[in-house]
C-alpha cells in the first residue's frame, strides 16, 4: 500500500469463477518454513504447462500485462484452503489489489491481515472493467482508497464499500497483536470468569499427561463402544 493510498497500474483480467487458493498457490509451494519464493508459485499451473513451459496465451504471460498491480477476478475468488501463501504470493508477484464480485472468507481475512486490498464490486461492473481492460489500449486502473473509487483511464468511476477495520488496516498498517494485547487485562478477566463457569474449557496438559498411561487405549475402546451402539442401516 503506497503512502498516497492510491493504487494505479496495469490491471489483468482473470475471468474464472471459484478460483481457489489451490490454484492461486499450488501445494508444492507450501513446503517452506518462511514466506519467501512464492512469486514463482503464483497461479503456477495456469502460467505453465505440464512440461514447465510458459503458456503464452495466459494473461499474466502476455507482454501488455507485464507489471500488473491489480487483478480482476471472478466470483468467490480465493475460496477453499486457508493457505495464507496465496496472499503472500500475490503480493510478492507485485499485486496490491484484487477486484472481484466476492471472495472466500478466509482469503478475505488473510488479505486484510497482509494489507492486500480486496475491492468488491457487482459482477456486471467487474465484467465492464474486464472488457475495458481487455479491449482498450490503456490497461491501467486507479484505485483511490480514501474515496473508495475505482476509475478507468476514460474517467468512469466505480465506488466501493470497505469495512472500517479493513480500511484502518490498509491505511494505518496496524500491528493487530499489539492492538489486542492492549486489551490484555480484559482477556485475563474473561479467562478467569470463563474458567469458573466452564472449567472443562481450561485445558490442563499436566493433568492430561498424568492420565495418559493407557490413554490411547481408552479412546480406541470408546470408539468401539460408540460403534457397537450404532444403528444398522
Amino acid at each position: 500500500m503506497s503512502e498516497t493510498h492510491r493504487i494505479a497500474g496495469v490491471a489483468a483480467p482473470l475471468p474464472i469463477g471459484n478460483l481457489d487458493t489451490d490454484q492461486i498457490m499450488p501445494k508444492q509451494f507450501l513446503l517452506g518454513i518462511d514466506k519467501s519464493g512464492l512469486a514463482d508459485g503464483l497461479l503456477h499451473d495456469l502460467r505453465f504447462d505440464a512440461e514447465g513451459r510458459l503458456r503464452p496465451d495466459f494473461v499474466l504471460n502476455r507482454p501488455e500485462y507485464r507489471g500488473a498491480r491489480i487483478l480482476l477476478g471472478g466470483a468467490n475468488f480465493g475460496c477453499g484452503s486457508s493457505r495464507e501463501h496465496a496472499v503472500w504470493g500475490l503480493q510478492q508477484a507485485g499485486f496490491d489489489a484484487v477486484v472481484a464480485p466476492s471472495y472466500g472468507e478466509i482469503f478475505y481475512f488473510n488479505a486484510m491481515n497482509n494489507r492486500l486490498l480486496l475491492v468488491t464490486l457487482p459482477p456486471e461492473q467487474v465484467q465492464v472493467l474486464m472488457d475495458s481492460v481487455a479491449h482498450g489500449q490503456d490497461k491501467r486502473l486507479t484505485i483511490e482508497l480514501g474515496e473508495q473509487i475505482v476509475s478507468t483511464p476514460q474517467g468512469d468511476e466505480y465506488p466501493f464499500d470497505l469495512q472500517p477495520r479493513q480500511k484502518r488496516m490498509l491505511i494505518d498498517g496496524l500491528d493487530m497483536i499489539a492492538m489486542t494485547l492492549r486489551d490484555a487485562a480484559a482477556i485475563d478477566r474473561f479467562e478467569a470468569e470463563h474458567w469458573q463457569v466452564r472449567p472443562w474449557c481450561r485445558v490442563d496438559i499436566a493433568r492430561t499427561r498424568a492420565r495418559k498411561r493407557g490413554a490411547g487405549l481408552n479412546s480406541v475402546r470408546s470408539q468401539g463402544q460408540a460403534l457397537s451402539s450404532e444403528k444398522e442401516r
Partner: protein, 483 residues
C-alpha cells in the same frame, strides 16, 4: 432472553470485547497446529519477542506433508526422503520443543490428521472455540464447538493473545429430515447440500445442520458433514449436542475429569438452538431422496446422483455458469450427457479429514471384503486418519480385507487429499476420492478428482468405474471387536 441459535450461544460465551469498527474479540479455548501453516507464525513470535499466551491451549501434530509408506515412516522425521518436507516437519517438532507445546510427532500412535486427532483425543469439546490454520477446522463443529479455519497471521495472533478478531456471522440452518436409503451416507448428504446451495452459498454464515437425518448420524458422520461446510463457503458448521455427542467424549484423554463431568454434561445439553430461534436462511432437504453422490467437475458444487449424467453447458442458466461448466468438462475430459457410471477410474483414494475415521474404513471394507480391485485401476489406497484409527482397524482385521482386495494400506496423514507428499495423481488420471476438494490440480497436476463416499470409492475400485453402491451386492459387515 430472546431465543438464541447454537451459534449465538457459542459466540456470546466467548465474547471478550466488541470494537466500534464492528469486530469483536473472541476467546479461543483450543488451537490445533500442523507443520504447513505454523512455521511463519512461530517465527513471527520470535521476531517480535512475544510468548504464547497459554501453552496448554495448543496441540500440534504433523499431517499434511508426512509420507505414508511404512518404509519412509520407520526412521521417523529423519527418514523423510524429500529434504524440504523433512525440514518442515522437523521445524514443527523444534518449534513445539522450543515453546513447550504438546506435540504428537510423526510416529506417535496418536499422530494423524489434525481434524481426526483433536476429537479422538477429546481435545475438541462441546462449547469450546477451536481454531487451526486449516480451512477444514469446521469439522469440530460436529461437537457444537465454534470452530474456525484461519490463516497464518491469525495463528500467530491466537498464539500470542488467545483471541481471534471476528465479525459475527449470520445464521443458516440446513435441515435434513427423513431416513437415508441403504448405502447412502453422511458424505452424500453434505455433497447434496453443497449441490443445492452452491460453493459460495454459505459465505458469511455459520451453518447449523439439523433434522432427524443428522441426529441419526454417528459423530464420525457429523464430522464428515461439518468438515465440508467450508466447501459451501461457510467457515463454521455446527451440530447440536445430544447423547451421541456425550457418549463419544466419555473416557477420552482430554475429556473433563470425573469431578467436572456431570457439570460439563449439564452445560453441554444446553448447546442446542432454542425453539423459535431466528435463522437468516433455512434450507431443507429430504434425506430419502438423496442418492449416492459423485462430483463430475472442478468444484464440489458440480455434483450429481449416481444415476445422473454429466450436465450439458447449453442448459446452464447463465453465461458465467455455462463457461464454468465448459471449463470443468474440458479439464475433466468428460462430455455432456455422459453417464456417471461410464466414468472409468485410474486411482482410488480412501482417506482425508473428511473420511478416514474408523466408521469410514468399516464402510469401505464392507464393500471390499472378498472382492478384488479391478485390473484397470492402477492404484487403490487406504490412508487411516490417525495411528489410533489404524490400530483399531487392524484389530478388526480391516487392513487384511483391504490388502487381500488389492488396496494399499498406508500410514496416517493427509496424503493424496492435497498431494503435498509423494501420493498424487498423474495428469489426466481419474480418481474416486473420499476427500473434500475436486479443484484443478488439487491431487496432482492435471489430476481429475471425483468426490464420493468411502463405500462408493470402494465399489468404484472394484468395478473400475462408478457404480451405484446400493445395487452392489453387500457382504455382511466385518464384526467390530467389543471392548
Amino acid at each position: 432472553m430472546a431465543a438464541q441459535t447454537l451459534y449465538d450461544k457459542l459466540w456470546d460465551s466467548h465474547l471478550v470485547s466488541s470494537r466500534d469498527d464492528g469486530t469483536s474479540l473472541l476467546y479461543i479455548d483450543r488451537q490445533l497446529l500442523h507443520e504447513v501453516t505454523s512455521p511463519q507464525a512461530f517465527e513471527g513470535l520470535r521476531l517480535s519477542g512475544r510468548k504464547p499466551w497459554r501453552l496448554d491451549a495448543n496441540l500440534a501434530t504433523a499431517d499434511h506433508n508426512v509420507p505414508t509408506t511404512l518404509i519412509e515412516r520407520r526412521a521417523g522425521v529423519a527418514g523423510i526422503q524429500d529434504d524440504v518436507s523433512r525440514i518442515q516437519v522437523q521445524t514443527l517438532d523444534d518449534n513445539c520443543d522450543d515453546f513447550g507445546i504438546e506435540l504428537y510427532s510423526i510416529n506417535d500412535l496418536r499422530q494423524g490428521i489434525v481434524h481426526v486427532v483433536g476429537p479422538e483425543q477429546g481435545a475438541t469439546l462441546p462449547g469450546m472455540t477451536v481454531v487451526c490454520g486449516d480451512s477444514h477446522t469446521s469439522t469440530h463443529g460436529a461437537f457444537a464447538a465454534l470452530s474456525h479455519g484461519i490463516g497464518t497471521s491469525e495463528v500467530e495472533h491466537v498464539l500470542a493473545t488467545q483471541c481471534l478478531l471476528q465479525r459475527k456471522m449470520k445464521n443458516m440452518q440446513v435441515r435434513v429430515e427423513g431416513e437415508l436409503g441403504r448405502g447412502v451416507t453422511a458424505k452424500d448428504i453434505v455433497l447434496a447440500v453443497i449441490g443445492e446451495i452452491g460453493t459460495a452459498g454459505g459465505t458469511g454464515y455459520a451453518i447449523e445442520f439439523a433434522g432427524s437425518a443428522i441426529r441419526a448420524l454417528s459423530m464420525e458422520g457429523r464430522m464428515t458433514i461439518c468438515n465440508m461446510a467450508i466447501e459451501a463457503g461457510a467457515r463454521v458448521g455446527l451440530v447440536a449436542v445430544d447423547q451421541t455427542t456425550i457418549d463419544y467424549i466419555g473416557g477420552r484423554p482430554f475429556a473433563p475429569s470425573a469431578e467436572q463431568w456431570e457439570a460439563a454434561v449439564a452445560y453441554w445439553r444446553g448447546l442446542v438452538s432454542d425453539p423459535g430461534a431466528h435463522f437468516d436462511k433455512v434450507v431443507e432437504l429430504d434425506a430419502s431422496t438423496i442418492e449416492p453422490q459423485v462430483t463430475w467437475g472442478t468444484s464440489p458444487e458440480m455434483v450429481v446422483g449416481i444415476s445422473g449424467q454429466v450436465p450439458d453447458p447449453a442448459d446452464a442458466e447463465s453465461d458465467t455458469r455455462r463457461r464454468g461448466i465448459e471449463r470443468a468438462l474440458e479439464y475433466m475430459g468428460l462430455s455432456a450427457g455422459q453417464a456417471i457410471t461410464d466414468i472409468r477410474l485410474d486411482r482410488v483414494f480412501i482417506g482425508s479429514c473428511t473420511n478416514s475415521r474408523i466408521e469410514d474404513l468399516r464402510e469401505a471394507a464392507r464393500v471390499a471384503k472378498g472382492r478384488r480391485v479391478a485390473s484397470t485401476v492402477k492404484q487403490a489406497m487406504v490412508v487411516p486418519g490417525s495411528g489410533l484409527v489404524k490400530k483399531q482397524a487392524e484389530k478388526e482385521g480391516l487392513d487384511k480385507v483391504f490388502i487381500e482386495a488389492g488396496f494399499e494400506w498406508r500410514e496416517p496423514g493427509c496424503s493424496m487429499c492435497l498431494a503435498m507428499n509423494a501420493d498424487k495423481l498423474g495428469a489426466g488420471e481419474h480418481c474416486a476420492s473420499t476427500s473434500n476438494r475436486n479443484f484443478e490440480g488439487r491431487q496432482g497436476y492435471g489430476g481429475r478428482t471425483h468426490l464420493v463416499s468411502p463405500a462408493m470409492a470402494a465399489a468404484a475400485a472394484i468395478a473400475g468405474h462408478f457404480v451405484d453402491v446400493r445395487e452392489f451386492d453387500h457382504t455382511p459387515a466385518p464384526q467390530a471387536l467389543s471392548a
